[in-house]
């Protein structure tokens, strides 16, 4: 009787998984780092790791569809003569004309206006299509200052000074040559077809003391009418929010690492910045320590997909949330109906992230006139409005279940966590316990 040595099952390395190996081969072949759009794709602690407790014997719920649960929010009440009133606490994040087609920008404006919320310009200036279709438009003030001018500043409903974004805190913009069309080149005052690298920091100020003076200048130019937001990428939220408030912000926007970008290095997206879930409590703590919670409004963004995500952010102390990638998906990004075309680009629907290449089959992240024409701004705007309304209903559903007649009454006490990590970050107890890691156990 002969015995054969039983073979072991071929085993892949955890450290050198298929993706990692493919990236090494790609880098070796091309000599360039990987650039892509979107936000962090790796799993990090997120809103899915939290649950709402809902009403019980100790508290009673409100009747769905019958009892009122208000959703409106006012932003910019601290200094601005004309604060912004939104019907829903979900805004559309800044995305540039250049990164997106003019049609996509128009659709975002249409959808936001139908739903009663604001949309935001990006690193390419304000287009007439976008201004015309956006009832409430936030104008970003970015390091590149592409297209920046005082006329558009005055046409805006609010001004957002962008310090950073969650996908790449500390990094500037990037728009590769394929997307620098004649119109984009003209708006940005650049030669057509170059690889445009936006600066990572503002050209005429550095540090919080300068920021205070810059905000003063913007207020003086606009006669103190417009709310001024300060947007930061989530890294050191407690200190950054403190300094933004000290510098005079009306609204602070904090964007976690799942927040998207049109294009940047993969290493930046996946390895710089902290998760959205981790930044909310320190940001709220900073506002509370200054006595400014609910006086300076907090907008949270980065990987928000559903009304549940939004409700959890509100419960942790945000005044509103902002969506970018989710809004693009609502318009039609990564739609499986373009599967054959995604395959030709070497990918599959749901994974397409080469937004910088400008060949988006859905016609959203492109400047190619034929591709861009595929997106009907009216229909796409309607889809976005539908999605925003669903999210809002979901937030109300959860709030009513927790017994609140106003979504802003959601509170950390309504939440528990499924994992120790999420419990520590969100500072809510692990489900079924009274344990908040890092804090002394209460009752």
């Amino acid at each position: 009787m002969t015995y054969h040595n039983p073979p072991t099952t071929p085993r892949k390395s955890w450290a050198f998984d298929d993706y990692t190996m493919s990236e090494i081969r790609r880098a070796a072949a091309t000599g360039i780092y990987d650039i892509r759009g979107g936000g962090a794709k790796r799993r990090v602690p997120h809103f899915d790791d939290l649950l709402f407790l809902g009403a019980s014997v100790s508290r009673y719920p409100l009747e769905g569809y019958r009892e009122k649960c208000s959703t409106s929010v006012t932003l910019g009440t601290r200094f601005a003569k004309k604060p912004i009133e939104l019907k829903i606490p979900i805004t559309i994040a800044g995305m540039s004309f250049g990164a997106l087609s003019a049609q996509a920008k128009e659709a975002l404006g249409r959808g936001a206006s139908l739903a009663g919320t604001s949309t935001t310009t990006g690193d390419g200036g304000m287009t007439p299509e976008e201004r015309g279709q956006s009832k409430t438009l936030v104008y970003q003030y970015l390091p590149s200052r592409y297209g920046m001018n005082p006329d558009d500043l005055r046409k805006a409903d609010a001004i957002e000074v962008v310090i950073g974004q969650g996908a790449k805190p500390g990094g500037g913009g990037m728009l590769l040559g394929q997307k620098i069309s004649d119109r984009v080149a003209e708006m940005r005052n650049l030669p057509k077809g170059i690889d445009q690298r936006s600066a990572c920091r503002h050209p005429d100020w550095t540090g919080p003391d300068d920021l205070e003076i810059k905000i003063l200048e913007l207020r003086e130019i606009t006669d103190w009418e417009k709310p001024i937001y300060v947007k930061i990428g989530a890294t050191r939220p407690y200190y950054d929010v403190t300094l933004a408030v000290k510098a005079g912000a009306d609204v602070v926007v904090i964007d976690g690492m799942q927040g998207g970008t049109a294009a940047t290095q993969e290493v930046f997206i996946e390895h710089v910045g902290i998760p959205t879930l981790a930044c909310i409590r320190p940001a709220v703590q900073a506002l509370q320590d200054l006595g400014m919670h609910r006086k300076v409004q907090l907008i949270v963004s980065g990987g928000i997909r559903t009304g549940a995500d939004a409700a959890k952010a509100l419960a942790l102390g945000a005044d509103a949330v902002s969506i970018g990638i989710a809004a693009l998906v609502a318009l039609g990004d990564n739609d499986p109906r373009f599967e054959a075309e995604y395959n030709k680009l070497g990918t599959t629907s749901g994974c397409y992230d080469d937004w910088h290449e400008g060949r988006d089959p859905a016609g959203i992240s492109t400047q190619d006139p034929e591709l861009a024409a595929r997106l009907d701004p009216v229909l796409a705007g309607r889809r976005l409005a539908n999605y925003l309304k669903v999210m809002t209903l979901e937030i109300q559903t959860v709030a009513r279940a927790a017994g609140h007649n106003n979504i802003h009454n959601l509170e950390p006490e309504d939440l528990c966590a499924l994992t120790i990590e999420a419990a520590a970050m969100a500072r809510v107890p692990l489900a079924g316990t009274n344990w908040i890691p890092g804090m002394q156990a209460g009752l």
């Binding site: 001018n149 040559g177 050209p203 005429d204 003063l216 130019i221």
Partner: protein, 234 residues
Amino acid sequence: MGDHVKLRTYDLAASPLRELNAELHRQGDGANDTRWEILNPRGSHAVAVGVDAPLDIDVRGSVGYYCAGMNKKATITVYGSAGPGVAENMMSGKVVVKGDASQYAGATGRGGLLVVEGNASSRCGISMKGIDIVVKGSIGHMSAFMAQSGSLVVLGDAGDALGDSIYEARLYVRGGVQSLGADCIEKEMRAEHHEQLAALLDKAGVSGVATSEFKRYGSARKLYNFNIDNADAY
């Protein structure tokens, strides 16, 4: 315009900045009060920002940050020195600083003319997008960083890393250049450049200086599209 135009005087020692800027913003293209004098600026920030009318504004003293920021159409003269970001993002008009200018003079300016009669500090003309800047003295390091278009004329010397990552702006320097930044090179002065420089000097009130005394610098255009073999320059 003549002597009959009433001079409006605004004293910043007696009245708040906010009222001054609001009053300047109320002046339209056909404003009667086109001559303004601002007294006692005492280093105030954001003096005469966002003006959008053909006014003549004299600032009697030194100013802080962002004087004449986003100016359109107005002629603003600072009889003193200017803090950081004077005439930042100017669209049109003219800004004259009789003294020195601090960092970021004319940053991101899109049009008009900025004249600094003294020296300008670092990052003069950073990210400029069409503005013309004439500095009668010298300029500091990293000037014209990422300068996109417009012209920067320097009668004195330039500091380190002039024109780093420059796009299509034109730099004319009469004195020495400590060093050139990435992708910035000396370029030939052709007839069109002598002509343009002469016009700029004339507009800035400079006389007795020959354009042949200047060297021109601009983009080598080697970093316009990413190439890993240029990684040392990034």
